[in-house]
């Protein structure tokens, strides 16, 4: 095996390991962000496709692989939201209820599920990052592009709202 081919092999293996390790994290984050498991699957695939192209640029000194992948996932989701908004505007439809694949996850109580659905994407994503993926404040801030204090405030508000809505649904 030639040296470049060997290097290429090592490079691919490294990315494959990372992808395998963080696939669930990315998927879970995107499920919470989009409220749609089917869409989250597509966006997850897109995320890893983009990540593969950008893998050479990944700098572990700046952020962990999980944070980096979540950043790409967020950009991918936002791009999709934008495209969807443009499509809706073009077709002159207003807020048509989407056919979402039922449930955020297996085993979630109906009240919590309903409460989560009523939160905005911004609120759900901070819950996903801090509670579900258990990123620390710094990492979550890096993904969201805001300060750790702002993350803390946003999380506190989101959880308060979630609890309130759960109580209402109960």
């Amino acid at each position: 095996m030639t040296l470049p081919a060997r290097r290429q092999g090592a490079w691919s293996a490294s990315f494959a390991t990372t992808a395998e390790e963080h696939l669930d994290d990315v998927y879970a984050y995107l499920v919470y962000l989009t409220r749609d498991r089917s869409l989250a699957e597509d966006l997850t695939a897109d995320t890893f496709e983009k990540a593969l192209k950008l893998w050479r640029r990944f700098d572990p000194a700046r952020a962990s692989a999980r944070t980096w992948l979540c950043q790409i996932a967020r950009t991918t989701a936002l791009d999709w939201f934008r495209a969807e908004e443009r499509r809706r505007r073009r077709e002159e439809r207003v807020a048509v209820p989407e056919q979402l694949e039922a449930g955020f996850a297996e085993g979630l109580s109906p009240e919590l599920e309903a409460a989560l659905r009523e939160l905005s994407a911004g609120e759900r994503e901070v819950i996903a990052l801090r509670v579900l993926l258990e990123l620390d404040g710094e990492e979550a801030a890096r993904v969201l592009g805001i300060s750790p204090t702002a993350v803390s405030t946003r999380l506190s508000r989101a959880l308060g709202k979630l609890e309130e809505k759960v109580t209402v649904h109960v």
Partner: protein, 364 residues
């Protein structure tokens, strides 16, 4: 928020379905598509890069200044330096100053000789203490001739003797002393600055003698063409004379009205005054061309060859660094507004994008 809810969220964390896992595996197994060319060129300015780039740029600037400063030989050349080692720094400084002073005044008609005027005498002349290479004023041509001669004498006694001798030389060549400043302190070095006026036709001989008074530290010559100025004055004089003749002829006319006579007489008076002024200017120009000015500077100051060479090189490096700074400042001034505008546009776009993202995240 109750811990139960948080635990429930954590416990029911969505897991990637097997189909997605396979899909991602197949993506990873593929050879990645090449990044677009522009994306590959994109450079992100992280603080780590700046930490490396800024000192590297400073090092390059200093090394460049050092190399240019140590290798450039813009005035004399290596031969000159070795021939008059102890005097290079002062000499070069003087020459630079004089070149700046003289060159812009050089007339276009003197183009052929202009470089030689601003340029120093050859090294051999400097070493032998001769001013023989001094540019001679062109005979028959009206020129303003200025020479600057800087000499070092051995001691205060030598300074006094040289000063006296300089006065004698000026008188001997039919010139005079325009100004003299003599300083001979009890301790330290002494100096004398003498301005001599010497007939231009004989200035070469006077310079040759003056240069024998000590070791030449520097010499420079400047010639301004006055012929053009004199010709122009002469033409104006002739025109004015013709005008006066014309007015006088008109005044002799018997049919001239009283009113016109008054007007013509007024014009005649003005023309005569102008003629007087023009003649005075021409006389002044001729007088200026007849006398050359020699600025003679005498000093007893000892100059260490090594120190001088070292300092001059250091000065050169400082000069280059200063020019680099000026260039950087110039760039900042020129590019600054554009950079600021670019930054503002970038910030505005970023803000708009952030707002759009926030709106999208609230809507979905």
């Amino acid at each position: 928020m109750s811990e139960t809810l948080l635990n429930e969220i954590r416990a029911t964390r969505p897991a990637a379905p097997a189909a997605l896992r396979e899909r991602v595996r197949s993506i990873v197994a593929e050879k990645p598509a090449r990044e677009p060319f522009l994306d590959r060129l994109r450079f992100t300015w992280g603080w780590r890069r700046l930490v490396l780039v800024v000192p590297a740029a400073v090092v390059v600037a200093v090394v460049a200044a050092g190399v240019i400063g140590l290798t450039r030989d813009d005035v004399g050349g290596g031969g000159e330096r070795s021939a008059s080692g102890p005097t290079t720094a002062v000499e070069r400084t003087m020459r630079r100053r004089e070149a700046l002073k003289v060159a812009p005044n050089a007339s276009p008609s003197l183009n052929q000789s202009a470089p030689a005027q601003a340029a120093p005498a050859p090294a051999a002349d400097a070493a032998t203490g001769s001013a023989g290479a001094a540019v001679a004023p062109a005979p028959g041509q009206l020129q303003r001739y200025e020479a600057q001669l800087s000499l070092r004498v051995e001691d205060l006694e030598g300074l006094s003797g040289a000063t006296k001798r300089a006065q004698q030389i000026a008188l001997q060549y039919g010139g005079s002393i325009a100004s003299l400043r003599y300083e001979a302190p009890v301790t330290g070095s002494g100096s004398a600055q003498i301005t001599l006026r010497i007939p231009t036709a004989r200035v070469q001989g006077a310079l040759a003698q003056l240069s024998q008074l000590g070791t030449i530290l520097g010499q420079s010559y400047g010639i301004d063409d006055l012929q053009q100025q004199a010709d122009s004055l002469q033409t104006q004089i002739e025109q004015t004379q013709r005008r006066i003749v014309g007015i006088l002829t008109q005044l002799e006319s018997p049919t001239l009205s009283a009113e016109n006579r008054v007007v013509l007489q007024s014009r005649l008076a003005a023309s005569r005054q102008k003629l007087t002024n023009l003649r005075e200017s021409l006389r002044g120009t001729n007088a200026e061309a007849r006398t050359a000015t020699v600025f003679l500077s005498l000093t007893t100051e000892e100059i260490q060859p090594g120190a001088v060479g070292g300092n001059s090189r250091l000065d050169d490096i400082k000069d280059v660094l200063a020019w680099e700074g000026i260039a950087l400042l110039y760039l900042a001034v020129v590019a600054g507004p554009f950079l600021l505008l670019g930054l503002l546009v970038w910030l505005a776009l970023r803000l708009a994008r952030r707002r759009q993202e926030t709106r999208l995240l609230q809507q979905n």
